[in-house]
Amino acid sequence: MTDMTDATRVTAAATRPALSGRVKAALTLFVLFALMPPLASALNDPFYVLIGTRILAYAIAALALDLILGFGAMVSFGHAAYLGLGTYAVAILSGFGINDLLVQILAATAMSAVFAAVTGAISLRTRGVYFIMITLAFGQMAFFFFISLSAYGGDDGVALASRSTLLGMEVLKTDFGLYYTTLVMLIGLFFLCHRITKSRFGRVLTGIRENPTRMEAIGFAPFRYQLTAFVISGCITAMAGVVLANQAQFVSPAFMSWHKSGELIVMVVLGGPGTLAGPIAGAVAALLLEEWLGALSEHWKLFFGLFLVLMVLFSPNGITGLLKKLGFGEKQK
């Protein structure tokens, strides 16, 4: 890990005076997020706070996926497995009477790190279509593992008796408390990911995305960097899972289904891969679209699917491309 100390030095040297546009965009989003709950209670609809927590949790997961998909060009189709590992960390620990959020996050991260290291090491031996299919298959492996784990309800899942505590305090008991705790996590993780992408490590990762052969020629082994990023991404996704378990107070393999992995990719692409702030907005857009279509028709998936197909067919560079065409967004090199 000598790389990391080098990395901090490089970033410190390269500190820029002004905030970049992406950080500004993210800060705007965070302010809007912070204003949402008072607005919801003014509108006398506190249910929105719970939906909001779900959106924030998925924003964390989308942020994590962007770290490898956007910056490393690794299209992982198995990221729902980490969401699920996070939720099951909560369920398993509560079986032992441990309900503290920090312990849960630690356990979720540890489980995910091991799973990501093993499956990542195998998946990264391949690339392209193979990588997509193999991560999908490993995701399904985790899904079937928890379906057959009868101690935790198998297919039906298990309900959680109470929400987690934070250092023994019942901060998360109210929906407001959970919402703001999640928001703090999202903000912290955003700046962590931002630092990672600006560090030496992040630059090497982006370099590998652009041209792995050249990076290897100048002395960087792509595998080590990609695997490290893959593990970090899995761990952050698991934290989103811990929040989701608290939000739903229910844990089931449904969090691990490959449809969830697909939805995470949709969020990242919708917001613009490789931008960090974009996927957060993408998570908001995708989930609001789902809620809206769901309210319009019970067959909302038909329209959501149609939306995806049309988006790809008629906007060659995704939503970001569409926005760029309309004159929004930053120019990429």
Binding site: Y130, M133, I134, A137, S150, G305, V309, V312
Partner: protein
């Protein structure tokens, strides 16, 4: 014990033959067109729903099958012309998104048209019942028929790929698309043929399996992932790999599911073995995939990248 083993082995081969029918199309689409198609499992599901509808309308499984095949060709051609054709030149990420959208649309459309309750397809009279195999062991005729039909299609594919002009173009396309195109072959027509062939085979698999399964909206999904495992193990673009991979995956899945717990019982105490067996059995296929990929990242018959 031997009887149980033979029975499970036959079940494994039957599943393997079906998996091969689905994987053959998928591996060609991957190998020749370099397109990832998540909607391939949907075609298998559509095949089953089509035969359920046609068999109910005509009152006969055979008429149903006869009508399903041309309908499958139409479905394949339409999907190719409307969606897939526009994806060939796009990134894998775009292909994933668009075909993921297709999966959502198709699952929902099937629910709207046929409802959520599973359908069943009557077994043809002549193939019902079972035949004695060895000793007291009997095996359903219909499953044997599936194995025979699947092997016949595999043979037909083998002959087509190795001894016909289209097959020659397929093999050439799988090894070097650009050169084939540069030599004056209409690559778009070749792609349409490949996709429609794959779609028809997947529909055929769905139609064949319909009488022994309940036809429901989830059936395409579990098969899709298994098919991916088959294609990855066999090597992308290799029909031979798909055939061996399909049999390997299916036999490991069925035989391992039954004999894994029995083997575990000899080393663990029964309750622990039961628990461990239940958890491990569905993961066996993926562990197999991991082991093979660890040794050969491009699959058994894949081109080394």
């Amino acid at each position: 014990m031997t009887n149980l083993f033979v029975l499970q082995l036959l079940n494994g081969v039957q599943l393997g033959v079906l998996l091969f029918l689905i994987s053959a199309g998928l591996t060609l689409v991957f190998g020749i067109m370099d397109v990832i198609n998540l909607a391939h499992g949907v075609l298998y599901m559509v095949g089953a729903y089509l035969i359920a509808t046609f068999a109910a309308a005509t009152g006969s499984f055979w008429w149903g099958l006869l009508l399903t095949l041309p309908a499958a060709v139409v479905v394949g051609l339409v999907i190719e012309a409307v969606v897939m054709r526009r994806l060939y030149a796009r990134s894998h990420l775009d292909q994933v998104l668009a075909t993921f959208g297709l999966v959502m649309m198709a699952n929902e459309a099937v629910k709207m048209i046929w409802g959520t309750s599973p359908l069943s397809v009557p077994m043809p009279e002549i193939l019902s019942g079972s035949v004695p195999l060895m000793g007291p062991l009997k095996y359903p005729v219909y499953r044997i028929a599936i194995i025979v039909a699947g092997l016949a299609v595999a043979l037909g594919l083998f002959v087509m790929v190795n001894y016909t002009r289209v097959g020659m173009l397929l093999r050439a396309g799988a090894s070097n698309r650009d050169t084939v195109s540069a030599l004056g072959v209409d690559i778009n027509r070749l792609f349409a043929i490949v996709f429609t062939l794959g779609a028809t085979l997947a529909c055929l698999a769905g139609a064949l399996v319909a009488p022994i399964l309940s036809v429901d909206t989830g059936m395409g999904e579990s098969v899709l992932i298994l098919t991916f495992v088959v294609v990855v193990i066999g090597g992308i673009g290799s029909i031979k790999g798909a055939f061996l991979g399909a049999l390997l995956v299916a036999v490991v899945d069925t035989v391992g599911g039954v004999f894994g717990p029995i083997l575990l019982r000899s080393v663990l105490d029964p309750s622990a073995a039961g628990q461990a067996g239940r958890v491990l059995a569905p993961m066996l296929v993926y562990i197999l995939m991991a082991v093979i990929l660890f040794a050969r990242p491009a699959g058994l018959f894949g081109k080394t990248a």
